[in-house]
C-alpha cells in the first residue's frame, strides 16, 4: 500500500509504516506554520490574487490538462476583491487576522481571530474544485491545512498548489513558503489507521461528502474540542413562476438553466435536479422542454460530456425507458443529457450526468412542503413580488441560497448556510486599554 502525500509541492510516496510518516508530517507542517502566523493577511491575498491572474491566462497549461474542471471559475474566485469580501463578510474585518480590531458594537472591547490550528479538509469525491476553495479559506485564516482527497481523485489540486508555490512577491513571504503549511494526502479508504492519525491531529475537521462518509469521518478518534464543519449531501432545484415564460426570453432562460445542469455533471450540491414550472398549460411545459433540449445539445460544444460509468449509463437508460413507457422524456442520442417529465410533485431524485426532471405545479408555494434543510440552492425565475414572498417562505423551511438561473453553482460565502472562516478561527477578545487611565478601576 502506498500513500501519496504532498507538503507544499513536494510529492512523496510512502510505504510501510505510513502512520508514523503521517505523524511526522504534522510536525513539519507545524514548523512551517509558525512563520505564516506572522504574515499580514494582505500578503496571502496578494499571492493568491497573482495566482488568479496567472490562472486566467489561457496559455496556462492547466487549461489544457484539466479542460472541464472549472479553472476560470477558480481564478475569478481567487481575485483580490472576492477574497477581501469573503473575509470581511465572514469575520467583520479581515485585519482581525493580523491584530486586535476594535469592535463597533462593544466599544470597550477589541477582537482578534487566531488560526484554530490544524484544519483537515476531508474530500469524499464530489466536485474537485471544492477541495481547493475549502483549502484557500484555511490558508487565508493562517491555519495549517491537510487535505484528504479520495483515492480516485485526480492531480488538479497538486497542480494548483504548484502554481501558487511559484508566486514571488518579495524577498520573503512568497508562495513557496505559503504552501509549506499545506499537505495533500491520498490513500485507499480501507486504511483506517491513517485516517485515525489524521483525525487525531485535527483542530477542525471540514467534511465534504455524502451522509455516509460524514458519519464515518465523524466517528474517527479526535481531540476533545475538535470543531466539525459538515458540508453533506444537499439538493437544489429551479422554480419558474407563472407567466414568466411568456414575458421573458424563454431561450435565454433555457440557456442559463442548461449551464446550471451541465456544470460539474450535476455533482455539486448546488446543481439543479428538478425544474418546477408554475403552469397548468401542458404545451408550455413541452415547448420549454424542447428549448431546453436544444440548449443542452448546443452547450455540449463548450462543455463536452465526461464519460459516464457503466452503472451511470444503466441508470440513465433505465429512466429513459421508464419515462418513454409511462411518462415523457427528451434526450440526446447518446447518454449526454436527459429531460424527464411526470406528474409527481417531488424533488429529483438526483441522477446526475445532466439528467433533469421537469415538472408542472399549480402554485410554487406548494413546494414549501418539499423543502428541508437538505435543500441548498433554489434558482429563481419569478417576478419581484413572487420572489420576495417565495424566498421568505422557502428560506424559513431551510433553503440556504437563492440565485438567478445560470449562477447556481457559483461558490459563495455563506455556503450551506455557513461562513467557513468563522469556524476555523479562535477568537480572542481584550479590553480597550487606555494609557491615560489606571488599568485597574
Amino acid at each position: 500500500m502506498t500513500i501519496t502525500m504532498s507538503q507544499g509541492t513536494v510529492h512523496c510516496k510512502l510505504a510501510g509504516r505510513d502512520e508514523i510518516n503521517v505523524s511526522r508530517l504534522f510536525g513539519e507542517l507545524s514548523m512551517a506554520h509558525k512563520e505564516i502566523c506572522d504574515w499580514p493577511v494582505d500578503r496571502i491575498i496578494d499571492i493568491i490574487d497573482e495566482f488568479a491572474i496567472n490562472l486566467l491566462d489561457r496559455e496556462n497549461e492547466i487549461h489544457r490538462i484539466y479542460p472541464n474542471s472549472g479553472i476560470p471559475f477558480i481564478a475569478n474566485w481567487c481575485k483580490k476583491s472576492n477574497l477581501e469580501a469573503l473575509l470581511d463578510s465572514s469575520l467583520g474585518d479581515r485585519y482581525c487576522l493580523d491584530r486586535f480590531v476594535d469592535s463597533n458594537v462593544r466599544l470597550d472591547r477589541a477582537y482578534m481571530a487566531f488560526p484554530c490550528g490544524t484544519v483537515v479538509h476531508w474530500m469524499a469525491g464530489n466536485v474537485p474544485t471544492l477541495s481547493f476553495l475549502s483549502l484557500l479559506q484555511g490558508m487565508l485564516t493562517k491555519n495549517v491545512n491537510v487535505i484528504k482527497l479520495s483515492s480516485s481523485s485526480d492531480d488538479l489540486l497538486f497542480k494548483l498548489l504548484e502554481q501558487i508555490s511559484c508566486i514571488k512577491k518579495g524577498e520573503h513571504q512568497n508562495g513557496y513558503e505559503l504552501v509549506q503549511s499545506v499537505a495533500v494526502i491520498r490513500y485507499d479508504h480501507s486504511r483506517k489507521d491513517i485516517s485515525d492519525v489524521i483525525s487525531r491531529g485535527a483542530d477542525a475537521r471540514v467534511i465534504w461528502g455524502d451522509d455516509k462518509s460524514v458519519e464515518v469521518i465523524k466517528a474517527l478518534p479526535a481531540k476533545l474540542g475538535v470543531r466539525d464543519v459538515v458540508f453533506s449531501n444537499k439538493t437544489s432545484f429551479i422554480a419558474i413562476g407563472k407567466c414568466i415564460l411568456e414575458s421573458v426570453d424563454i431561450q435565454k432562460i433555457a440557456k442559463k438553466i442548461a449551464t446550471d445542469i451541465s456544470i460539474f455533471e450535476q455533482k455539486a450540491c448546488a446543481s439543479p435536479h428538478t425544474i418546477f414550472i408554475e403552469t397548468d398549460n401542458d404545451s408550455e411545459l413541452v415547448s420549454f422542454a424542447e428549448y431546453l433540449k436544444e440548449c443542452l445539445q448546443s452547450i455540449l460544444k463548450v462543455m463536452p460530456k465526461t464519460m459516464p460509468s457503466q452503472n451511470e449509463v444503466s441508470a440513465i437508460l433505465n429512466l429513459r425507458a421508464q419515462y418513454d413507457m409511462y411518462h415523457r422524456a427528451w434526450y440526446s442520442e447518446g447518454t449526454e443529457f436527459t429531460i424527464l417529465s411526470d406528474d409527481y410533485i417531488q424533488l429529483g431524485p438526483p441522477v446526475g450526468n445532466r439528467t433533469i426532471y421537469l415538472r408542472k405545479i399549480d402554485r410554487l408555494e406548494r413546494l414549501a412542503e418539499l423543502i428541508t434543510p437538505k435543500v441548498q440552492t433554489v434558482g429563481m425565475v419569478a417576478s419581484y413580488e413572487r420572489y420576495e414572498g417565495l424566498t421568505a417562505l422557502f428560506g424559513a423551511r431551510g433553503v440556504q441560497r437563492f440565485t438567478q438561473v445560470g449562477a447556481m453553482t457559483n461558490f459563495e460565502i455563506p455556503w450551506d448556510g455557513c461562513y467557513l472562516p468563522q469556524h476555523i478561527v479562535r477568537w480572542s477578545s481584550r479590553f480597550k486599554h487606555n494609557n491615560t487611565e489606571k488599568y485597574l478601576s
Binding site: 444503466s314 418513454d324 413507457m325
Partner: protein
C-alpha cells in the same frame, strides 16, 4: 391457452448451435428476432410505447444495430410481460445485490421450456452428453424446488439435468455457510477413482476462496485429470483479492490435477436466463446461433468495432413471455472475432472484462460468499 407458434424462431432453434457461418446465421437469426420483436411490440404495451417514442417499428428495422434495447436494470423496477399474467408460472429473481433490488422475470411455460432447451444444448456441447456425478459446492437446499426460485438455486438445478447423482459439501449452521472439508475430501477421493465421471460445480468465489485456496494452504492435492470444473458468477470479490481468471485456472490445475481445457467459466445473467456463454477450450466465449452480441460506447451508445471495449448488448429471440430479447447490460467487454476460433465453433467470440461498479455487480457467488462463516 395453447402454445404460440413462432415459425421462424423454431427454424432458428433447429440449427446447429455453433455450426453456421455469419452469412448463413444472420438471415435466419434476424428473421426470428423480427418475429419475436413484433410479438413483444403487439403484446407488451409499455414496450410498444417505448418503441414508438423512439420511432422504432419492428417492420422497418434493417440491421440488428437499429433494434431498440432495454437496460437490464429496468427489470428491477418494472415487471414487463408479453403474455397474460395468468400464464406466468414462474418468476425468476436475480441475487439481491448491493442495490437491494433484484430483477423480476416472468416466465410462461413456453419460454421456460425454450430456455431450458437452449441452455441444455450449450452445456452439453461444452461438457459432453454423458451423465456424470456432480460435486456441488453448495448446500443441499439449493437443489430443491419452489414457484419462486432464486437465480442461485435455479442455476444449480438447471445444470443437474446432466447429472447421474449430485453431492453437496456445504452446510448451513445458524444462518452461516461452512465447507464440510471432510466430506469434500471424501468426494474428491471418490472422484479420483474415475475422474471422467465427475463434474465439480460451484460459484466462482466459493470455488476459489473456500476450496482451491484452502487446498493450496493445506498442501493437499488430487489427481482428477478428466474431471471437469464448472463455475459461474461473481468475479468481483476475486478481483479485489487480485485473483485473475488465469490464476484461477492454474491453481485449479495445480491442486485438483484437472486439465486446463476442462475448466469452464459460465457467463450469463438473469434478464436473459437460458442463455449461457461458457468459455471454450481456448478460453473465450461464443455466441450460439440464437444469440448475438453488440458492444456499445457508453457515451455515444453507438456500436463499436471488434476489439474496442464497451457495454455489452445481447440479442436473442428465445424469450417470448417478456421483452428481454434485446438488452444492454452493465458489463464491459469486447468482441474478439467472428467465426475464427480455433476450437472450431462458429459465431462471435467475446470477452467480458468487468462488471459494473456499484450497481448489479455481484453474482450469486458473491452473495453466497457473504454468508460464509
Amino acid at each position: 391457452m395453447g402454445f404460440m407458434y413462432y415459425k421462424k424462431l423454431d427454424k432458428l432453434l433447429s440449427q446447429s448451435i455453433y455450426g453456421l457461418k455469419s452469412e448463413d446465421k444472420y438471415p435466419v437469426f434476424i428473421d426470428a428476432v423480427l418475429e419475436v420483436t413484433r410479438h413483444h411490440y403487439e403484446k407488451c404495451k409499455p414496450y410498444r410505447r417505448f418503441c414508438e417514442k423512439r420511432m422504432f417499428n419492428p417492420d422497418s428495422f434493417s440491421t440488428l444495430d437499429d433494434l431498440t434495447y432495454l437496460p437490464t436494470s429496468l427489470f428491477k423496477d418494472v415487471l414487463l410481460l408479453s403474455v397474460p399474467e395468468d400464464e406466468v408460472f414462474r418468476e425468476i429473481k436475480s441475487s439481491a445485490t448491493s442495490t437491494g433490488r433484484s430483477s423480476r422475470i416472468g416466465l410462461d411455460k413456453e419460454t421456460s421450456r425454450r430456455q431450458s432447451k437452449c441452455f441444455n444444448k450449450v452445456v452439453l456441447d461444452r461438457i459432453g452428453d454423458d451423465r456424470r456425478e456432480f460435486i456441488v459446492l453448495d448446500e443441499s437446499s439449493s437443489l430443491g424446488k419452489g414457484s419462486v426460485v432464486t437465480a442461485r438455486s435455479s442455476t444449480i438445478r438447471s445444470l443437474l439435468f446432466c447429472s447421474s447423482e449430485a453431492h453437496t459439501c456445504i452446510v448451513e449452521e445458524n444462518g452461516q455457510l461452512r465447507l464440510d472439508e471432510n466430506k469434500l475430501d471424501t468426494l474428491l477421493k471418490m472422484a479420483e477413482k474415475n475422474p471422467g465421471n465427475f463434474i465439480i460445480f460451484g460459484f466462482t468465489f466459493i470455488l476459489y476462496i473456500h476450496v482451491i485456496q484452502k487446498l493450496l494452504e493445506s498442501g493437499k492435492k488430487y489427481e482428477l485429470a478428466g474431471a471437469k470444473i464448472l463455475h459461474i458468477g461473481g468475479w468481483k470479490k476475486l478481483e479485489s483479492a487480485k485473483v485473475t481468471p488465469e490464476k484461477l485456472v492454474s491453481d485449479c490445475c495445480e491442486v485438483l490435477g484437472v486439465l486446463k481445457e476442462d475448466i469452464v467459466d459460465f457467463y450469463g445473467f438473469t434478464e436473459q436466463a437460458g442463455l449461457i456463454y461458457p468459455t471454450c477450450e481456448e478460453g473465450v466465449r461464443h455466441t450460439p446461433v440464437w444469440a448475438d452480441v453488440i458492444v456499445r460506447d457508453p457515451l455515444s451508445l453507438r456500436s463499436l468495432p471488434i476489439r474496442e471495449e464497451g457495454l455489452l448488448q445481447f440479442i436473442t429471440p428465445i424469450q417470448t413471455s417478456y421483452p428481454g430479447h434485446s438488452v444492454l447490460t452493465e458489463d464491459v467487454g469486447y468482441i474478439i472475432g467472428v467465426d475464427e476460433c480455433s476450437c472450431g465453433r462458429k459465431g462471435k467470440t467475446f470477452k467480458v472484462v468487468g462488471r459494473a461498479e456499484k450497481a448489479e455487480v455481484r453474482g450469486c457467488g458473491d452473495i453466497m460468499g457473504d454468508k460464509f462463516a
